[in-house]
Symmetry: C2
Subunit: 519 residues, 2 copies
């Protein structure tokens, strides 16, 4: 099935029901399908061909959602860009994907302007929701208005529909290429557990460029659920949206749930419509879960574990295990069990399947597993070897198939639901002229789960303050990836015989007394 089929189905079964609500704009499914077919038409007129990449850098909006559906309708591939990236990173994503057309939200136009000379592959710049587009730019709303709707460009569901970028262990982001089938398989597998349908109203609260909300983008489409959109996550905006639009469900990260359920205005809002809350990225701290069950007594909690490479869902922990008492309790530290349609196993370093209880690499297969990494055939072959997605995460399965994630082979820090690859931070640190050795690790942070912490050694005679080093990083990588704290050591960092830093030794003093959330 293609994304276009799901859109046609939704328009057929709910033509006059609300499809999108954003600020004061509302579109029915019939209207949304029409706007998607017009935007796709405009893209084709610009010269976008089958397999071309269309990038988008913007805060959440109904236009964003239209672009997510329209690029594949036109036979093209959407490339959502993280809004928190630093300029060099945006440049990399745009160049690496070879985007032909770039949709840019008003807040990002100046960044796009300053990158323009370096982006030889981008032919068309489209301003989304900007009052006055710059000279030479196209205006999104005019494109949609002036185009004649076209039928979906024919194709198979094994063709790429989206490239979601993910941090890389080598310090460069990699594009995860997902087909129509991948995205809709993950959506359907998830729907079989969370039970959303055409009577639901999904809230885009997390950023749309992120695969967590991406799940909602495709699942809500497949379910023909209404979609309510907030531009950027803030607890008050989300609480207002739930109460005003009778939102029933969302996908969030635990940090957001923490902010939501502890917001002082939460009790003043009517949240009774909100019946299912899906979160991913890490287990929910017990205190947050307790508060969530108090503030949202009618809400079913689901934890999903996965990654962009799995479009993204691999396992689910359902409401029956979000309890503190009874026989189902004690699983809240687990990531749940393989979704219907997905198979999860643990493999040793020689790719043999390990028995119950033994720690190894988490591997998975299913229709939701990516086509591969964009333009990286070798990494793709390696990651998908033997027909299994090698997640790079370490974990074990218990005797009832519950997955426990115990470590990340990819040396990753999860902060506020975002994955930060240590290598990316270390590359930025090492670009500072005063730094001789650098390690980035995750240390406990109540609001973010973890925060990025740098341990560095300076060159003989050189000098730099923690503030200098953080400021330096901000010119190279997204703010959320930059260290929040820096420790400058005079002794060399502890290393393995092979010259790798012993991250465990560096992390140990911080985590000694903490119930660590590892996944």
């Amino acid at each position: 099935m293609r994304i276009g089929s799901a859109l046609r189905r939704a328009a057929a079964i709910s033509p006059t029901r609300t499809a999108t609500t954003f600020t004061d704009r509302t579109h029915t499914w019939e209207k949304l399908a029409d706007r998607v077919a017009r935007l796709a038409s405009a893209l084709r007129t610009l010269g976008v061909e089958r397999g071309d990449r269309v990038a988008i850098l913007a805060y959440n909006s109904d236009s964003y959602l239209e672009a997510m559906y329209a690029a594949p309708w036109a036979g093209a591939i959407i490339v959502p860009i993280n809004t928190r990236l630093a300029q060099p990173e945006v440049l990399h994503w745009l160049s690496d994907s070879g985007a032909r057309t770039w949709l840019v939200g008003g807040e990002f136009i100046s960044m796009a302007m300053s990158l323009r000379d370096k982006l030889l592959n981008v032919r068309d710049y489209v301003a989304v929701d900007a009052l006055v587009p710059p000279q030479g730019w196209l205006a999104y709303e005019e494109l949609v208005r002036d185009a004649q709707p076209i039928p979906e460009i024919d194709g198979t569901d094994n063709e790429p529909a989206a490239i979601f970028y993910t941090g890389g262990t080598t310090g460069q982001s990699k594009g995860v290429t997902l087909s129509h089938r991948n995205l809709l398989a993950s959506a359907l597998q998830t729907l079989a557990h969370v039970h959303w349908d055409h009577n639901d109203n999904y809230l885009h609260a997390a950023p749309m460029f992120h695969m967590a909300d991406g799940l909602g983008t495709y699942a809500a489409l497949l379910a023909a659920a209404q979609q309510t959109i907030v531009s950027r996550f803030t607890a008050p905006a989300v609480l207002d949206a739930i109460a005003e639009h009778h939102v029933t469900c969302t996908v969030a990260v635990p940090t957001m749930i923490d902010l939501l359920v502890h917001d002082p205005t939460a009790p003043e809002h009517d949240l009774s419509s909100f019946t299912s809350l899906v979160y991913g990225g890490s287990p929910i701290p017990e205190a947050v879960m307790e508060q969530a069950l108090k503030v949202l007594p009618q809400t079913r909690l689901f934890q999903l574990y996965g990654q962009s490479e799995a479009s993204p869902t691999l396992t689910v922990l359902g409401p029956e295990h979000h309890v503190f008492e009874g026989s189902a309790a004690g699983r809240t530290r687990s990531a749940g069990r393989a979704t219907m349609g997905c198979e999860v196993q643990i493999m040793g370093s020689d790719d043999t399947v390990l028995p119950t209880g033994q720690v190894g690499e988490i591997v998975a297969r299913g229709d939701n597993v990516m086509l591969g990494y964009w333009n990286q055939p070798e990494t793709t072959t390696q990651t998908l070897r033997g027909g299994w997605l090698h997640t790079g995460d370490m974990g074990y399965l218990d005797e009832d198939g519950f997955l426990f994630v115990v470590d990340r082979a990819k040396d990753m820090i999860v902060t506020g639901g975002e994955n930060v690859y240590s290598a990316e931070v270390e590359n930025a640190l090492m670009a500072h002229p005063a730094i001789a050795q650098a390690a980035a690790i995750g240390i406990p942070a109540s609001q973010w789960g973890e925060q990025v912490h740098a341990v560095v050694v300076l060159h003989q005679g050189a000098s730099a303050s923690p503030a200098d080093i953080i400021a330096h990083c901000r010119t190279l990588i997204a703010r959320y990836k930059c260290p929040k704290s820096v420790e400058i050591r005079s002794e060399p960092l502890p290393q393995t015989g092979a010259g790798k830093y012993l991250k465990g030794v560096l992390r140990e003093p911080y985590w000694r007394d903490v119930d660590r959330n590892v996944n």
Copy 2:
């Protein structure tokens, strides 16, 4: 995803929970997976290779279910045989499919023995649940006991896993070849609506050879739901099973529901566990629905519309539309709307999409659409032309995407949930030496929806009684396909210019005063 993946997942998440219950036998998921891997191993040892056909003719049992999973585990294709067929039909299914191995239930061994000389393609005969297998036969339980379990034979999910035979418009049954993907896609799409999971207990009440219960076979596997099995449908057996095993769900045909909810012992049974009832084949008569809502107040009703070629689900009508009052009422005559993952449209005879409200052929696409008809490339190409499954049924979509089935292009009679193709009945009738002209039509029958009625003209000077004619048919076709009533006319049957009988004219007097259930 392959059927084997779903079985491994179920065994991983519910190893010690009950997988199957039949008579006094109970197997856990771990045990079931082991038995399937042993049976597959035994089949391989017999010489079954990838793509070979393994037929089964038996009443429902846990062994039957094992065979359904084991043949694909061994890389082979299962061919379930209708237990109601007459010998010549069984011969056709076995020969046409080229089955290499035949599993035969105790009740059918004598039939198999008498066909043996004509079945040159069948190498191995396996007696299922027979006390003493005939000379030269293998015993099912010994095969399972003596084999070493093997891992699933590698393969893609586009390979055939099952061939379900369906009546043919040309008077011969056709094999519907379904891949692993087809079967599991239909199951997952259905699960996204009916919401079964590992806490459910599915009852195999309808015959396992039929695609209605086939849906349950794959959906319960994917959901890792417990499976309770009754050998043959009778209302008391089903009511007892629900009460004793705390059954939660089943797939049935309206005739069965009618028998169940009107059974005098129904009120004496504790049916409170039974929370979802899926039925297909035709809309439910209002009186039956009323009684069902009374006897099973906690049960959610789902109508599915589909056909074997769609593995089988195309549309679903959910509990919210099984009501007599309120804004959602008035849809009970509809077949519901396209399932998530499936696209349904109406096409004219030139294969253009028709607008809302206009009657044309019902067409569909999705991962659940068959690979094709077994050994019938031309019929396959014709039926799947343009990438759409042409169902042969006529209908229209209303403004909210609800499908109304108004006629069957395939000239079919639906009696007790079974499809009877008029052509098959007419072929049998015409084989009678006294009959010159014959038409088979469906006429109203309270318990069966429709019953098969024959209108015949005899040769000049020939004579035959209705009883003679019915007895003659029973030697050629399944009892349920045979006319229940025969009208002998002296005038020639009304025909079109092209020489086709005017079935509408023949049917009209019977249906004049009836609220007809057309789908």
